[in-house]
Subunit: 153 residues, 2 copies
DNA sequence: ATATTTTAAGACAAAAGAGTCTCAAAAACC
DNA sequence: GGTTTTTGAGACTCTTTTGTCTTAAAATAT
């Protein structure tokens, strides 16, 4: 698996937030319902994103979480780094510690190329970009429903 | 993590075998010592490769395992598919079941591209190719030693 | 103040991945 | 036949990931 489940849930939630009215706090319970993710689990994941400064949270009635920056300023890589850490883009494909240009494994060069294309994808896709694409084509954010679920309450 | 640890160990062992005299059975104990992988764990992994028809095994003195095909006929993807299965190259990046051209998630197109570049790398690198590269430049197959460990007994 | 709504924190449980161990089965050698 | 060397199969343990639950703390409203 490329991304952990936590990371995937974090990405889905971030896309959800990027589709909301800017600056509005959205309750995690609402997101967990819409995105079909366990409330407590999602809470834990979003706490990480809050700790990393990607989200802001507010307690109490009308509280919730929201993006600190605008969605078009947040590439996917930020979410991935915050949750899964840099391993995906730094680790040796053969698992050898300290593999790098100086002391490579036989796969190093080829893997470095592939890794760069993963990095590029994650750096060059912003939340807003994917939300627009998703809305235009009514693509899916859950196993069943498309982006429209984010509106019909 | 892109590949599971089992898969990485399987790849290292396959490279080791591709560097041995063709047709010779190599005891797993010998490989586990050289590659610094737990004997029992490596045994279990290589049993999978045997079950998948990538290795042949032979019991008793002078027994061991060997590659069924020549190393230059075995791309890395064969080992990866045998151990980790096709998930890496089929699964949706957002974890949505049934994501595909018909019913894509917002990341589908970009991820499909990236995934293709991973597939290409794994399809276009053969064991022999990496062994040659490794021998020429004395690259590493373990955390400490280079390819020369495969010779010095 | 008290009750309600929300996130925060952390204990706990279940499942999957990684790794160890034991015993059986096959082959070779004596 | 018995001993040794090897893989095969499976039970078992440890660790990490995933997921659940409980309680606390902050904010709001009445």
């Amino acid at each position: 698996m490329l991304l952990s489940k936590s990371c995937v849930y974090g990405l889905r939630a971030a896309l959800f937030l990027a589709n909301q009215e800017e600056g509005k706090f959205v309750p995690i319970r609402h997101m967990s319902d819409k995105l079909e993710i366990s409330f407590h689990f999602l809470t834990k994941i979003l706490q990480q994103l809050t700790a990393e400064g990607i989200l802001e949270s507010f307690k109490g009635p009308n509280g919730g979480v929201r993006l600190v920056k605008k969605g078009n300023e947040i590439p996917l890589i930020e979410i991935v780094m915050a949750i899964d850490g840099p391993q995906l883009l730094t680790e040796c494909a053969l698992g050898l510690p300290g593999c790098g240009v100086q002391n490579p494994c036989p796969l190093h060069d080829k893997w470095a190329e592939t890794r760069d294309s993963i990095r590029d994808m994650l750096e060059n896709s912003t939340l807003t970009e994917l939300v627009h694409k998703g809305k235009q084509e009514n693509l899916r954010l859950t196993s069943e429903s498309g982006f429209d679920i984010l509106f019909n309450d």
